[in-house]
């Protein structure tokens, strides 16, 4: 089975610019997560979707971050405008339901300069 696909792998932008990340989960996986991993820290949940509905976005900085999952499949995460502290790896994960064995993608490494 194909894994969770994310793009781009790397992105460098200047502060105050906008950026978008894309995730294609494993086929049939209803639940999709976006995590932020800052260097030296563990991943932190930003948002969780169940199909195309948001289950938990309590830790998403909604003044600058937005995410959508159209048709309950692919998802995009956007940051506008970016700040220096947004530099991190953004990980997408998916699972069949709200199950422990979720599969992570390789992540997008964002550097804000």
């Amino acid at each position: 089975e194909a894994g969770v696909a994310q793009s781009p792998r790397y992105k460098i932008i200047e502060k105050r610019q906008s950026v978008a990340f894309w995730c294609n989960p494993i086929s049939g996986h209803a639940t999709l997560y976006w995590y932020q991993q800052i260097l030296g820290q563990g991943p932190k949940l930003l948002i969780q979707f169940q199909n195309n509905g948001v289950v938990d976005d309590s830790q998403l900085p909604k003044d600058r971050f937005s995410a959508e999952r159209l048709k309950g499949v692919d998802s995009t995460l956007k940051i506008q405008p970016a700040k220096l502290e947004d530099s991190a790896v953004y990980l997408c994960a998916s699972s069949l339901a709200t199950d422990y064995g979720y599969t992570f993608g390789s992540g997008t490494r964002l550097t804000v300069v």
Partner: protein
């Protein structure tokens, strides 16, 4: 507020010996615990989990021990192999479905040949 802590940023062991990675948590609502392994430039991969109703779970060379009274869990790898060299994340969930994981900071394990 760091609810899941891995106090050792790094651990180095000899091939064939036991690796013990530790994790402490503060939230008494956590009742499901997982370990993930992460290689450079890849997303974390699920390794092993344990429910709070158990104190031990074993899968091949990997065993997870849970001490609920001490709010402590550990991952034992026996025997350690060079291919086990990776960052290990402890994660916890407040419900058995495993959604919304809270991760520790990670421990870099190096297994020397």
């Amino acid at each position: 507020d760091q609810q899941v802590k891995q106090n050792s940023p790094s651990l180095s062991v000899q091939e064939g010996r036991i690796s013990i990675l530790n994790c402490d948590y503060t939230n008494s609502m956590f009742d499901y615990f997982l370990w993930y392994k992460k290689y450079p430039a890849e997303g974390p991969t699920f390794l092993i989990s344990i429910s709070s109703i158990k104190d031990k779970n074993e899968d091949g060379r990997f065993t997870v021990f849970l001490n609920k009274s001490a709010k402590h869990l550990s991952l034992h790898i026996v025997p350690s192999q060079p291919g086990d060299s990776a960052v290990y994340f402890c994660a916890a969930s407040a419900d058995t479905s495993g959604s919304r994981l809270t991760f520790g900071e990670g421990t870099q394990l190096t297994v020397n040949p």
